[in-house]
């Protein structure tokens, strides 16, 4: 059992029991030169992941990173684990094959907003729906970086890019709401430059049994610099990050503001002083999905106060385990497969 630091103990997703972490960041760092643009948010995420993996107690030999195409896709090469850098958008499908074939492995997917939500949207939603035991880290920088700056499915309306010189007329996805809509069993959001929060969320994602979806706001300082400044940067971040913690009232902005239940049951952002204390929402990751869904919609994007942390965490049957169980059941019921018998099944006749 692992203490998830959120007040309750549990989860046997990817964290083996009773393992003492004797590994270090170095054990997870490959010899490949890291080639993202200087200043890219990906560096911080890589450092956090490499730094946090040893505490999971899973050997790098039993860990697989799978990625797609985009700047995030390179992540795989920098981890000294097993890894596959697949094709655009297909990482969740590749990882489904790996995690289902080998439930003993710790399987991670690193993807981006274009990779996961545009070309790979179908694979993402189905991996989450099936609840495959994979940990999906989606770096959301709200832009296409590797192809040099086109708008992405999370770019805001009106976004001016090379492919939208007059502004984008596309409505963006709300990735958290999308994941919740698939009935994903673990949905969270964190920030690239908040090492502590990022690590905490990763820890919970890893401990979760089944599919974990973690959106990481990631600054692309070349093509979309400052997209998350309101939340990331020091002075204003304090005022605009709405940190979700299970079992606690949702307060932010140095406890001056809160999320409360307004008229006709809608969630609103309000000054603590302006609302009745019993209308302040207490976060519940295991409760009804409607709360998580409402929290996902409290802002229209990272240009307003926005929720970060774990939105939802529930238990559901895990896909690979269910498949293994069927194989076991079939073997018990029908006996272990006998090839000779199989080939001789049905009506046969003998010619002598």
């Amino acid at each position: 059992m692992t203490d998830r630091g959120d007040g309750h103990v549990g989860g046997d997703g990817l964290v083996p029991e009773g393992v003492v972490a004797t590994m270090t960041k170095k054990d997870f760092t490959s010899d490949q030169e890291v080639r993202w643009c200087p200043g890219c948010g990906d560096y911080a995420i890589l450092a956090a992941v490499q730094g946090f993996m040893p505490e999971l107690g899973i050997e790098p030999d039993k860990t697989v990173f799978v990625s797609g195409i985009g700047c995030s896709g390179r992540f795989t090469y920098y981890m000294d684990t097993y890894g596959v850098h697949g094709i655009h958008g297909r990482a969740p499908a590749l990882a489904t094959g790996i995690a289902t074939a080998r439930p003993d492995l710790s399987t991670w997917v690193v993807t981006g907003d274009g990779d996961a939500l545009s070309i790979g949207g179908n694979h993402l939603i189905h991996a989450l729906r099936r609840n495959v035991n994979i940990k999906i880290l989606m770096f959301n920088n709200q832009i296409y970086g590797l192809t040099k700056g086109q708008y992405s499915p999370t770019s805001e309306e009106g976004k001016v890019t090379k492919s939208t010189p007059f502004g984008s007329v596309d409505h963006p996805f709300n990735p958290i709401a999308l994941a919740l809509g698939t009935e994903a069993s673990f949905v969270a959001r964190t920030l690239d430059n908040d090492r502590q929060h990022l690590t905490q969320v990763l820890r919970q994602a890893a401990a979760h049994k089944g599919a974990s979806f973690v959106e990481i706001y990631q600054n692309c300082n070349v093509f979309n610099d400052g997209a998350f400044d309101l939340l990331r940067e020091k002075p204003q971040g304090i005022h605009n990050q709405i940190r979700l913690e299970h079992g606690k009232p949702i307060l932010f902005d140095e406890d001056n503001r809160c999320i409360a239940v307004g008229d006709n049951g809608r969630l609103i952002i309000a000054n603590v002083d302006d609302v009745e204390p019993d209308t302040i929402v207490v976060h519940d990751v295991h409760g009804r999905p409607s709360l998580a869904f409402a929290l996902a919609h409290i802002s229209h994007g990272p240009t307003e106060p926005t929720c970060i942390g774990v939105f939802r965490e529930v238990e559901r049957p895990v896909y690979g385990e269910a498949m293994e169980a069927q194989i076991q059941m079939a073997t018990e019921r029908l006996g272990p497969g006998d090839l000779v018998k199989l080939l001789n099944s049905g009506d046969t006749w003998t010619v002598s």
């Binding site: 490949q32 050997e59 790098p60 030999d61 039993k62 860990t63 697989v64 990173f65 799978v66 990625s67 896709g73 795989t76 090469y77 981890m79 684990t81 097993y82 890894g83 596959v84 850098h85 697949g86 094709i87 297909r90 499908a93 590749l94 990882a95 489904t96 094959g97 790996i98 289902t100 074939a101 080998r102 003993d104 492995l105 179908n122 694979h123 939603i125 189905h126 498949m323 069927q326 194989i327 059941m329 079939a330 073997t331 019921r333 029908l334 006996g335 272990p336 497969g337 090839l339 000779v340 199989l342 080939l343 001789n344 049905g346 009506d347 046969t348 006749w349 003998t350 010619v351 002598s352």
Partner: protein, 612 residues
């Protein structure tokens, strides 16, 4: 009444009726009784594309054809000698294919005004002379079935539904088929539903006795067992043989099979077959789309399982991207393409061989893949094992090109001895291969790279679609390295030719002027047509390609050894294009793209034209 018995060498029967009439089942059961009797046989089911086409219309006709004989049968037959037509639409749809003077058995009760109209008849073909050239038996199948089942207290609808068993009983009597095979099957199928079982048995027996007792039928026919190699046989359809072959390959390799697929006609059969075999450790996954299915299979292979995906043409288009990745990753994987008629949705339930060039070249960049093509339903078993063997030994994706005809058709199969199946050694990497280092792209004598599965201590490595440095597998954008890797990937596939048997040629006198070269499901037609022209004293040679890429080492010698080469295909001449381009021979193409097999008489005529 006493009947005369007439001996026949071969018979072609076509059962046709409305989709809801159970004609596939009837054909299937007749086939099994025929197989058990020891006749050689070949079958061809022919279903409508619509699941529920309007009842009684020509679009809704479902048919099943079987040829059985006391000699070697190579095709389901060109023209039925006997047509069983359960309604006017079936008669209308099938009459043209029946041999002139052939036998037509109709369910007379179905020839009522409303059904005639639905079938598009303006007058009753049973009365207006349409069938003058045929021997027609009008049998009130519905009425007799109802009478035979009335004591069972079942609904009229259920009783009527047993009329296909009446037809089966009647034809079984005509051709002296054993009744116990069918009765035992009914028992095992409907044992739990007593009334339905009894109704079917009663209808079957009524049909059988109707033949025996009425004066309508004066003759029964006898087809003696065909000479066959000693051993135990069963009847097998292509889809089933393919599923068994994949399971056998997994067994031989000691590696669990992981089959991921998206539902598509006609490849879904394979998913259904394999999904039943979970006690063989078979993992099946119905993916969200064709692309996912391919990626799941490839992921499973990376993880150390035998990853297989299956589809038909439209799905092949979508899987091309993943096949390219598999070529770059150099991992074992098998992609089954049960070809159907295209382009696009085309004729989803009809057969074609249109995906050969797609399989050869249908990926961007230089991305060679081995191709194996079964030539008969039972041969799908061997093709599956061979595709897996090549995939595992050479760490490469392999395409297995089946087709609708092979998948649906069946034939007797001499059940192979499991002990004699080829060995497949996964040869998983267990330790470093370059001093203390592990280099994922260091190759063995077959140019195959190590298969190092996650969890193996010390062999951690990262691979991907980006070009890799020879040996280390690190990302490399270096010009000379890319050229070297491109050549290595091509050479690896090419070298498989050292590991496959030479192309066998059937040239009885050794001096034929014409070689008929084929691949895939046209094998039966080619053998039948060759037999016919040889009986006329003509000399022709035949050869059939099982490996399409690489070709057997002697393929060039074979095609250049004959003054004339004829290549019959159910496409616009795809193998012909390859053979002409590769060996600079003036191969002629004979093509048919009607969604159905080439008939032996069509090919016979073409051969006679070519050799003059």
């Amino acid at each position: 009444m006493p009947k005369t018995v007439q001996e026949k060498e071969h018979v072609v029967i076509r059962f046709a009726g409305d989709s809801g009439d159970g004609m596939q089942l009837t054909g299937d059961r007749f086939t099994n009784a025929t197989a058990v009797l020891g006749n050689d046989l070949a079958t061809l089911p022919d279903f409508p594309a619509e699941i529920r086409a309007p009842a009684g219309t020509v679009h809704g006709v479902s048919a099943f054809q079987i040829q059985f004989a006391s000699e070697d049968v190579t095709t389901p037959g060109d023209h039925p000698n006997v047509l069983v037509a359960m309604n006017p639409a079936a008669l209308k749809a099938e009459l043209d294919s029946v041999e002139k003077g052939g036998t037509i058995i109709v369910n007379e009760d179905a020839f009522i005004q409303r059904n005639l109209e639905k079938a598009g008849y303006t007058s009753d073909p049973l009365a207006d002379g349409t069938l003058e050239a045929y021997q027609v038996y009008k049998v009130p199948m519905t009425a007799i079935t109802l009478r035979a089942t009335e004591h069972l207290g079942i609904t009229k609808r259920d009783a009527e539904r047993s009329k296909n068993m009446f037809a089966l009983g009647l034809v079984s009597w005509m051709y002296g088929r054993p009744t116990d095979v069918t009765l035992n099957w009914l028992e095992s199928k409907f044992g739990g539903k007593k009334q339905i079982l009894e109704a079917n048995v009663a209808a079957f027996k009524a049909g059988y006795n109707f033949g025996e007792t009425t004066e309508l039928f004066a003759t029964t026919y006898k087809v003696k067992p065909a000479p066959a190699r000693p051993g135990t046989y069963r009847n097998v359809a292509g889809a089933q043989a393919l599923a068994y072959g994949l399971v056998a390959a997994s067994h031989q390799a000691g590696v669990p099979l992981f089959y991921a697929s998206y539902p598509i006609t006609p490849a879904s059969e394979l998913l259904h077959e394999l999904s039943r075999l979970k006690n063989f450790g078979v993992r099946t996954l119905q993916a969200e789309d064709e692309i996912a299915a391919a990626n799941v299979a490839l992921g499973a292979s990376f993880a150390g399982l035998l990853g297989v995906t299956g589809t038909s043409g439209p799905g092949m288009d979508l899987k091309a991207e993943t096949m390219g990745l598999a070529v770059a990753l150099e991992l074992p994987m098998v992609i089954v393409d049960v070809q159907r008629a295209g382009p696009s949705t085309g004729l989803p339930t009809k057969t074609e061989q249109g995906d050969l060039l797609l399989s050869m070249f249908g990926r961007h960049g230089e991305s060679p893949m081995p191709i194996v093509a079964p030539y008969s339903p039972a041969n799908c078993f061997d093709a599956a094992i061979e595709a897996c063997r090549i995939a595992v030994k050479y760490r490469t994706p392999v395409i297995l090109l089946s087709d609708t005809f092979l998948s649906n058709s069946s034939e007797p199969w001499l059940i192979p001895d499991v002990g004699s199946l080829p060995a497949i050694d996964p040869n998983f990497a267990a330790g470093p291969n370059a001093g203390d280092e592990f280099m994922p792209y260091l190759r063995d004598e077959h140019l195959a790279r190590p298969w190092a599965v996650p969890g193996t201590p010390g062999l951690r490595h990262r691979i991907g679609g980006l070009e890799k440095e020879d040996g280390t597998g690190d990302i490399s954008y270096e010009a000379a390295n890319h050229e070297r890797m491109t050549h290595l990937r091509a050479a690896k596939v090419e070298k498989i030719a050292d590991d496959i048997p030479p192309l066998p040629v059937d040239d009885p006198d050794g001096d034929a002027e014409l070689l008929i070269l084929g691949w895939g499901s046209s094998s039966g037609t080619i053998r039948a047509a060759a037999r016919r022209v040889r009986r006329q004293g003509k000399k022709v040679a035949t050869a059939h390609l099982f490996h399409l890429n690489p070709l057997p080492r002697n393929a060039g010698d074979v095609v250049t050894a004959y003054p004339k080469v004829l290549i019959p295909e159910m496409n616009m001449g795809q193998l012909a294009l390859l053979i002409r381009g590769r060996f600079l021979v003036d191969a002629r193409s004979f093509t048919k793209v009607q969604g159905q097999p080439i008939f032996a008489d069509e090919l016979e005529a073409e051969i006679l034209k070519v050799i003059g």
